[in-house]
Amino acid sequence: MNYSKTRNTIFSEQARVFEHNAQAGNQYVMRLRAPLTASHAKPGSFIHMQCNPELLMRRPMSIMRADKNTGWIEILYKVHGDGTMRLAKRKVNDIVDILGPIGVPFKLGGYRKFPLLIGGGVGIPPMIFLAEHILKTAPAVHPLVIMGSEIPFPFKARPSKIMVSGMPEGVIAAMPLLDDWGIPSRLASLQGFAGCFEGYVTGLARQWLDSLKPDLNNEVEIFTCGPTAMLEAVSQLAHEYTLPCQVSMEEYMACAVGGCAGCTVRVETDDGPAMKRVCVDGPVFDAASVFPPR
């Protein structure tokens, strides 16, 4: 007998919808009762969900928050196609078929003193999960969360109560949830939203990094999730400042358990290029392996 260690690590759950709230920009936050997924999820984990029983292919969704005590998880999604359109119609108390938690999460623990979490659009959720995890497990670590969006942010931004040195003047908008936890956050957009940095997340991150004393630069590491172009830009930034960087990737997915190799990304390894499955080899990868420094 040679049973693999990976056996029975993903759970099939009939998850009841607890809350389902529409946000600006055709975005939704859904809270589901899924105790097995909630108790095993880690920042970077995702679920593979049936949006509607009539639509057979599932959709991968990053987990934004998980509470193992009460057994709920939360996801954030934007209506983009047929699947998410049907998902948006699901009501409180509906049952949603999910598989979770899936994937290799971020490397947790042993953090540098100033983790920089950069989330773009629907890549924001894993950053929230990671920020909450750091808050609960590493009190001496001081994360900063930078988020970007070209549609309204999926929360009502408000002026932050937390000072962040090195931020350009007027860049004061923050995510209330993070602010309430005492975690500083700042927002970037090209859409001229109040209190946001007018530019890309990498532009804002660069200003903050440049404001740090040179010796403090060694205390920063980057975690990121978002559109591929943003991940590539963040990876280049990390390379430029010689900072460790982990990226959470996205790709069209069929099985989400490693069976079909449909969701691969090209990764540079010691043995040369390889096609790695986003679902079970990722979704989190070392940035330089996916986006080799230019």
Partner: protein
């Protein structure tokens, strides 16, 4: 005999001398190298008769660029491009991790030349693998620039070359993208295949209208899922007219997602039935299909699922074309 034992006995079949727990076979390209779905709690390889491993070539292949999959109405396209670590690594690293007491494992032999098919077959012959499936529906072949599987002469030559290097069970996976599948089946049987897998995916395309580009990185892909079921069923019916004359069993496949689907394929002439895309919808579908088959057998007082094979009653005044 307990109810559980009786149920097991109803599903158990002999497939070319191999004992299958159930007529269900997990299809190549859907379940990695046999262990991937065991990640899902509640899933067990013991629920199926056999598991077909991912298509394997002599040398490692990276496969196609993304996107490799696209959703379609009642189905999906895929173009993975035979990503695999090469036959030697599959035998040395992957087969050693499998639990052969749970089910039968079938290798999927792929290649660009007849010599490569034969060499990969030879490598698997010298391994614990239970059987080999010859994948002659790969479009990227060297000789003639057409798929081996769409040319009965070439199909037969591949089967013959593989037959010459192994005594293990050989299953030939037929392509639906050809004019006369029954004729191809006949040639493969004459060339020495022990069984037939009917059908592989149908070639298709999906276009992103904003980009005006194919969604699939390979431009085209193979269509699977419920959308192809009626086509697959007819192909099984056609092939069965030939294969039954030689006692060659069929693994019927194409869009099976329910017990009723599986029963249709068995009635049409399949000895075993393949489950592929349906696993993506529900990884725990196999025990549900097994239970549905048992219910049906009980309803018609049949002792074993093999009693149902090829029991199709055609309309006597019906039309249609059947080869063989």
């Amino acid at each position: 005999m307990s109810l559980d034992e009786r149920n097991k006995a109803m599903l158990a079949i002999d497939f070319c001398g191999l004992k299958f727990n159930s007529p269900l076979v997990l299809l190549s390209g859907c379940v990695g190298f046999g262990e991937e779905y065991t990640r899902v709690s509640g899933f067990s390889n013991t629920d199926v008769g056999a598991v077909c491993l991912k298509g394997t070539t002599l040398e490692p292949r990276l496969g196609n660029p993304p996107h490799r999959i696209a959703e379609t109405y009642m189905g999906m396209l895929n173009a993975i491009g035979l990503q695999n670590p090469g036959a030697h690594k599959v035998v040395e690293e992957y087969l050693s991790k499998l639990d052969f007491s749970e089910t039968r494992f079938i290798a999927n032999v792929s290649g660009s030349t007849i010599e490569e098919y034969a060499e990969v077959t030879r490598i698997f012959d010298d391994s614990p693998i239970d059987a080999m499936e010859i994948n002659i529906s790969c479009p990227n072949v060297k000789e003639g620039g057409v798929a081996f599987g769409n040319d009965p002469d070439m199909s037969a030559r591949v089967v013959e070359a593989c037959r010459n290097v192994t005594k293990k069970t050989l299953i030939t996976k037929l392509s639906p993208n050809q004019t006369n599948i029954a004729e191809n089946a006949r040639r493969c049987i004459e060339a020495g295949t022990d069984a037939l897998a009917v059908i592989n995916t149908l070639m298709g395309m999906v276009i992103d209208i904003e980009e005006r580009k194919p969604v699939i990185g390979n431009n085209q892909g193979g269509l699977s899922g419920p959308a192809i079921k009626p086509i697959a069923l007819l192909k099984v019916h056609q092939v069965y007219q030939v294969s039954r004359q030689h006692n060659v069993p069929i693994i019927g496949q194409g869009g099976i997602t329910t017990a009723n689907d599986a029963l249709e394929f068995i009635i049409a002439g399949s000895t075993a039935v393949g489950i592929g895309t349906a696993l993506f919808y529900d990884p725990l579908i196999c025990p549900k299909i097994n239970a549905g088959i048992i219910d049906y057998l009980n309803r018609y007082k049949l002792k074993n699922v093999t009693d149902l094979i090829g029991t199709l009653k055609l309309h006597e005044d019906g039309g249609g074309e059947c080869s063989g």
